[in-house]
């Protein structure tokens, strides 16, 4: 039995990344997403991850002042089903692909409306830049990555449905680069993730029958600090994490020169995770992420997300 639990703590570290990669939910309007990819951090050659999440917008944070929780007579729920794969292509390099299927539903006194479509695709190239060759009490294992988001789904600038229920994607090509550091001591693990992203300027031809609209979201960044504790008597890990996400204001303008800059956005994700390592090949995570616990938040929606992740790995 101890031989089974011996490598558990290392494998459980992969949950850290698993939860990181699935807490990046936000309303499509607000660009409050980060770009945390699912990485191979265990001693595996491939992994497939299925994630299901339900995110409910419970309030809005203005530029200034207090948050306003939405009326109980309305609900805005986004359900995401995400398929994610990663594979080693060499001893230290890996590639990954994530394909989400997203359903958005808006319910109010007027009734209910929903839309389902593929979400934005993302591909990732990652490198194990700081491998663990031997024991160290403090040197972490580290990865760097480059990720590209492809705007497959319709965005708020392309919506045609009343209430913009079909605004599911971000609308922009985005490149993000960052690093992930993992360290464990006996039952404990700590992770630190940081990334910066740039969303490229895009024009939306004929925005509502008007002239061309140009939108430039620009730069953003996010970080995750997480910690976990694994039971010695069972393959279970409890984790907590928090993640600030900052995006600069968007510049928007028409061909005629009409220009409107928007304000920057800041939101904090806080989360609790319960992970279960069923076997060295199979694992599952239940995660809760809340955007109301931590502040300050600014110019964003506030959501609560429940997620369940199932992962299959192929050890070396």
């Amino acid at each position: 039995m101890s031989r089974f639990f011996g490598p558990i703590f290392g494998l459980l570290l992969s949950f850290v990344v698993l939860t990181h990669s699935n807490l990046a939910q936000a309303a499509a309007c607000c660009g409050g997403t980060s770009a945390a990819p699912g990485l191979l951090t265990g001693d595996d050659t491939h992994q497939l991850t299925f994630s299901a999440s339900s995110s409910s917008v419970i309030g809005d944070m203005p530029e200034q002042g207090w948050a306003v929780y939405r009326s109980s007579s309305t609900s805005e729920v986004t359900q995401s089903f995400r398929f994610e794969g990663a594979m080693l292509v060499s001893e230290s390099w890996q590639i990954g692909l994530a394909v989400p299927l997203i359903r958005k539903e808006f319910t109010s006194l007027r009734g209910s409306d929903s839309a389902t479509s593929l979400g934005d695709l993302s591909v990732t190239l990652a490198h194990e830049t700081w491998p663990e060759f031997g024991y160290s009490a403090w040197i972490p294992r580290g990865f760097t990555f480059l990720s590209v988001n492809a705007p497959i789904a319709a965005s708020i600038y392309e919506t045609t449905r009343p209430g913009a229920v079909d605004a599911i994607g971000s609308g922009f090509w985005r490149v993000s680069a960052g690093a992930l550091f993992l360290k464990s001591w006996n039952s404990w693990d700590v992770s630190l993730f940081g990334e910066t992203h740039y969303s490229f300027t895009r024009n939306f031809q004929g925005y509502f029958g008007a002239e061309r609209l140009w939108v430039s979201p620009g730069w953003g960044m996010s970080a995750v600090l997480g910690a976990g504790w694994s039971f010695a008597s069972a393959p279970v890990r409890l984790g907590a994490r928090f993640q600030p996400i900052l995006n600069q204001g968007r510049n928007t303008w028409y061909d005629s020169g009409t220009h409107t800059p928007s304000a920057s956005q800041l939101v904090w994700n806080s989360g609790l995770d319960l992970s279960w390592l069923a076997s060295p090949e199979w694992s599952a995570v239940a995660a809760y992420t809340d955007q109301t616990w931590l502040g300050p938040a600014k110019n964003t929606t506030l959501s609560r997300t429940f997620a369940f992740n199932l992962q299959r790995r192929w050890p070396r």
């Binding site: 203005p62 929780y69 009326s71 109010s108 708020i156 209430g163 039952s187 928007s262 955007q291 616990w293």
Partner: protein
């Protein structure tokens, strides 16, 4: 008892103590007083001014804007020199394009449906404020995709429902 397990909630509490938590500092839309600034000012003689076209326009909600339902409104145009908000109404020589915009967010909402009811009077439907906050209601006069003139009014929408 293994007290190390207490470190996780302590970690969460320590991090939660930073900043202004929205959970501890918020209003509820269910109890918030509904904003009264959704109605364009009626005191002015020309709420929407289009000086190049020599037109004025007024905006009257038929169904008040809320997050609960799509709003509808009537838009009326008159000659700035000869007409009044009570008429006679005249049809703009160019197409009109009404749309919502949320300046702080840098995006708008879904398309507004426009139907001509009488000369110079338009019914606007499917006006959806997809989130509370500060919006602008924009009216463009355009030729093809070219905007000839634009006028707008600020609208403040609380998170309150229609009840």
């Amino acid at each position: 008892m293994n007290f190390r397990i207490l470190a996780l909630p302590l970690f969460w509490i320590a991090t939660s103590a930073c900043g202004v938590s929205p959970a501890l500092h918020h209003h509820s839309a269910d109890t918030a007083k509904k904003e009264s600034s959704t109605q364009p000012p009626t005191s002015t003689e020309c709420p929407f001014s289009f000086p190049k076209a020599g037109l004025c326009a007024s905006w009257t909600w038929k169904a008040d804007p809320t997050l609960d339902a799509g709003a509808s409104a009537t838009l009326k145009f008159w000659n700035a020199k000869e007409g009044t908000p009570n008429g006679p109404y005249v049809a703009p020589s160019s197409a009109i394009r009404p749309f919502l915009w949320m300046p702080s967010m840098g995006h708008g909402s879904s398309p507004i449906q426009v139907t001509s009811q009488e000369i110079g009077i338009f019914l606007l439907e499917d006006i959806f404020f997809i989130m509370p906050g500060e919006w602008t209601l924009n009216i463009e006069l355009k030729s093809g995709s070219q905007v000839l003139e634009q006028a707008n009014l600020p609208i403040s929408l609380s998170g309150a429902g229609s009840s």
